[in-house]
Symmetry: D3
Subunit: 223 residues, 6 copies
Amino acid sequence: MTTLERYSAEYLDRIADSLYSSVLSDILDEAGHRHQVMRPEVRPLYPGAKMAGRAATMLAVAVSELPEQPYRLLMDLLDGVRPGEVVVGAVQGGVKAALWGELLSTHTRALGGRGAVLDGLSRDAWGIEDMRFPVFATGVTPADSRGRLEVIAIRQPILVSGVAVADGDLVLADEDGVVVVPASLEDEVVGRAIEKVAGETTIRDLLRQGTSIRKVFDEHGIL
Amino acid sequence: MTTLERYSAEYLDRIADSLYSSVLSDILDEAGHRHQVMRPEVRPLYPGAKMAGRAATMLAVAVSELPEQPYRLLMDLLDGVRPGEVVVGAVQGGVKAALWGELLSTHTRALGGRGAVLDGLSRDAWGIEDMRFPVFATGVTPADSRGRLEVIAIRQPILVSGVAVADGDLVLADEDGVVVVPASLEDEVVGRAIEKVAGETTIRDLLRQGTSIRKVFDEHGIL
Amino acid sequence: MTTLERYSAEYLDRIADSLYSSVLSDILDEAGHRHQVMRPEVRPLYPGAKMAGRAATMLAVAVSELPEQPYRLLMDLLDGVRPGEVVVGAVQGGVKAALWGELLSTHTRALGGRGAVLDGLSRDAWGIEDMRFPVFATGVTPADSRGRLEVIAIRQPILVSGVAVADGDLVLADEDGVVVVPASLEDEVVGRAIEKVAGETTIRDLLRQGTSIRKVFDEHGIL
Amino acid sequence: MTTLERYSAEYLDRIADSLYSSVLSDILDEAGHRHQVMRPEVRPLYPGAKMAGRAATMLAVAVSELPEQPYRLLMDLLDGVRPGEVVVGAVQGGVKAALWGELLSTHTRALGGRGAVLDGLSRDAWGIEDMRFPVFATGVTPADSRGRLEVIAIRQPILVSGVAVADGDLVLADEDGVVVVPASLEDEVVGRAIEKVAGETTIRDLLRQGTSIRKVFDEHGIL
Amino acid sequence: MTTLERYSAEYLDRIADSLYSSVLSDILDEAGHRHQVMRPEVRPLYPGAKMAGRAATMLAVAVSELPEQPYRLLMDLLDGVRPGEVVVGAVQGGVKAALWGELLSTHTRALGGRGAVLDGLSRDAWGIEDMRFPVFATGVTPADSRGRLEVIAIRQPILVSGVAVADGDLVLADEDGVVVVPASLEDEVVGRAIEKVAGETTIRDLLRQGTSIRKVFDEHGIL
Amino acid sequence: MTTLERYSAEYLDRIADSLYSSVLSDILDEAGHRHQVMRPEVRPLYPGAKMAGRAATMLAVAVSELPEQPYRLLMDLLDGVRPGEVVVGAVQGGVKAALWGELLSTHTRALGGRGAVLDGLSRDAWGIEDMRFPVFATGVTPADSRGRLEVIAIRQPILVSGVAVADGDLVLADEDGVVVVPASLEDEVVGRAIEKVAGETTIRDLLRQGTSIRKVFDEHGIL
């Protein structure tokens, strides 16, 4: 697949429509990549939020005063968002301020961005739900980031909620949480996940009929 | 009441329809059983989830590698689930993996099981909500339990989110949380709870009319 | 504005309809009042809950036995609730019991109260959602406060989830959280917030058209 | 025993010299009182601190401004400390300020007080260690309580670090932590603890010689 | 090296005398084993505690009542302790009771055991310090494990404070914390650690003379 | 005072000898600077550690791989440490790795540095205690920072354990914790603290003689 195809809406929509976070996590587990799932604290801002996209990473840290050029790197990242991307932010330090909000969501969508994933807080929950822009965060607060948080690195590999995320990695987020597929593994993982989803339908039918779970597990190796 | 009746859908539906967790908690409090409510972290996976059932207990612990016979006791418990039961699991250790999911829910329902309560994580939140199977857990994650958690005891008395639960105890869970009624107290507690529910309607009407809350408390002893 | 006007439904409804917590937080930030937002743990009990009102404060603490006159100060406060007020409670100590519930909500509404904000737990989530009474709390539990919590001060300045709240302060709570406007700053803060809301619409339109976020920030100073 | 004897230095020193917290905890456990031990966070301020005394209880809560009569109840309690007493304070709310310090220790000792136990912070760790006044707290901080904490009840039954403490209860604190013996159980518990201490010496000798731990447990019922 | 040599006092003393936890952690890091260090919560019970030994693993879980045969597996493990072993216990669940104490320490030492490492609480801190038996735990409490914790597996691979530990692994614990060397890596890791210790002395001397830290790092690759 | 004098050993030793953290905190409180004390988690690595110095600030964040030029900014800061300075580090993100250790301590002391204060972990506790170099941290671990933490800003204003610290601020740390005096307030705060220390001796004597604490407070305004 070309880079262009990897960022295309067709490809990413197909992933979001046919896959889900738990099946990707299972395939990554089988391949020995057992730390690709963010912690349960990162939750969708509204029920039913789901998205697939490619990571555009940023790292924000606590500050105690307004920098000389506030928001410089945040604006660099956001004005450069490409179609197919998801903004993935690590918000380090315990400061209780929102790094994300409705205006940033509006801007990101206008440029073709598909969502945001934060190891921190957002705000404007109502507006974000109204526009159905998938944001995943550890919570919400009315408090703005101004003079509290500042982005200090963009498009670098960062740790987000326990997962190493590189710019360009595939991110899938849904009701269960957020899973990150390293770009180098993507083709194989996505291919095997599509196969696994097909198999689960058979199993679901067997279980619905009251088949022994041991029998199902022994024969299909899935639980 | 016979054991058969205690596990019957009629009896358990009647409890789920006419009672709720807070009234059972109040009656247990009055009887001196003040530790029968799980911690607030155990939450329904979807709004409106409610159920009453009899505990089928299991205890899972963190493991660092796949056991020789993975899922052995979990499958023993699940293949033996009886109508009227609720799977109640303590997931000890801080491992962030899901002990429960949609396939286990499908199987449990096929055997007449009524829900699941976990002091730990589930997954497949969307599928579980679709089938309206009441699961109560501390959160969700895409990460599977395989090689992370293993059930090491079933149908034993266990501590679940601060409450001692014995196999066969009555469990009622709703939007407010999870309450456990020890089997030996059940007849008296359920009887008194039904009486209390009737009294609360009167009080609600009085308060709606603006009656002093002190007057209501002095005359009815409820607040 | 007279005190009467400040407690009037017209005034408070207008604030709830035209403002939201994040814009009030921004204006307070600009005025140097940077600790007016409660922690993200204080959440609405149901989606869409929103309210503006004037604080009627109370402080509850953990007790280990039933006091001689249980609920004395709680009932004093509640029987004296005035139209336009919001009960704001600090529930200090780690006791996992509910200080609020459906009956208190029914009573408070009957007297013209507009909601409740708690640095602690509520119960009767389903009943409170049914009556659409806006309650903001850190969680829910079936366990009653009886013999676990007792109100020991009312209408005093208290710390609630990190914010100093004085009786009579303006409280606005919505999906994003809870913000407290000290009465002395109210006229100026509310006035400037209304102006800011107007400006945000323009910016939202610019961003929707794909305007550079740096350009918007440089020209309007908002992000 | 008369009340006078219970507060005498002779009696309390004998307890501190011959008993320790774990043996008292064991006897209370056997008698069905299984919640008499404070959480492990309450630690001695210096190695080797140990004391026995009778509880003089106080409850402090977070405040956001200086009260009109600051420290009123704290001073009432402290000026009334009797020989044999230990000040036991619950410091509710997450405020990081010290309720105790060197000057209060100096005063309490001058009146015959034997120590302090806090579910909160102290300060002046070096001065308190210098005077060898046994203080048990959850930590230390330079920050004073002034305008941050205020005592709002004294000599009432309070919950301290998970244990219900009534004024006059026996408190024993050592390297392992803090145990509270309700006054009504004291004679029996202390008597049986003295017996148990004697038995442990025999067991220690057996184990030192390499006797099977199963044999020791089967024959002496202690582990 | 034979198994016998690996459990010998000569070999283990040499490791304890010439190595320390941080140098072993560095070598394991270099070899790609980056999860071999327990969390900082596991601390020595007294200053200066240090030991090297081979893991004898056990797993305890929270229970709500006394089992029929209390302590059965704990006693199996302890009566079978071999010279050179360190008891390594995972105490899963949040129960605040001590799994370890002075009597168990006395017994373990009598059989040639060299210490204990717990992802949980101990008791008898004073007695354990008196006998200088190296115990590493997350804290101390007077409360006994009886009817609160029960060992449910011994000599199995377990997760202890974030590290996978197999029976027989090399454990080194000192003031900095606890590091676990898998038996299969031991010869290489120990060998390289001894080399690294030698190199650090040179660097320490250079730095003491004020040499640039960049120069030291560029030339020796250590910081 | 000239800048030279402010960094002189004479001046800083005099502060360390005659003042302590709690008296500085009190004076800062009185002046309305009520957030100058770090959280109680920042503790001395050995008993009796105390120091005064001028902040040399750095900010480290979690990384998921080794940077191209590891330790670049850390080495810049350390090779430029001036006599009288204390390295003050914010270690953001929950990564459990040590940013500080014995070699860095040796280097810093060789250049005239007086200590280190970290909102994170150190290692080499035994070596640091041996050389009596005052390090204050939230804990210790054997795990190195290499590939886990990277310094990304030096000599900038940063938030450290809740306190805003600017390069050059006065830092005093002792058994009670860490207090930061902004350079602009230093002369006044230090002057008044010296006066207060003198007054406390009088009060200590009064209290030692059994004087009423109310009388002392009314007459001297100190408690």
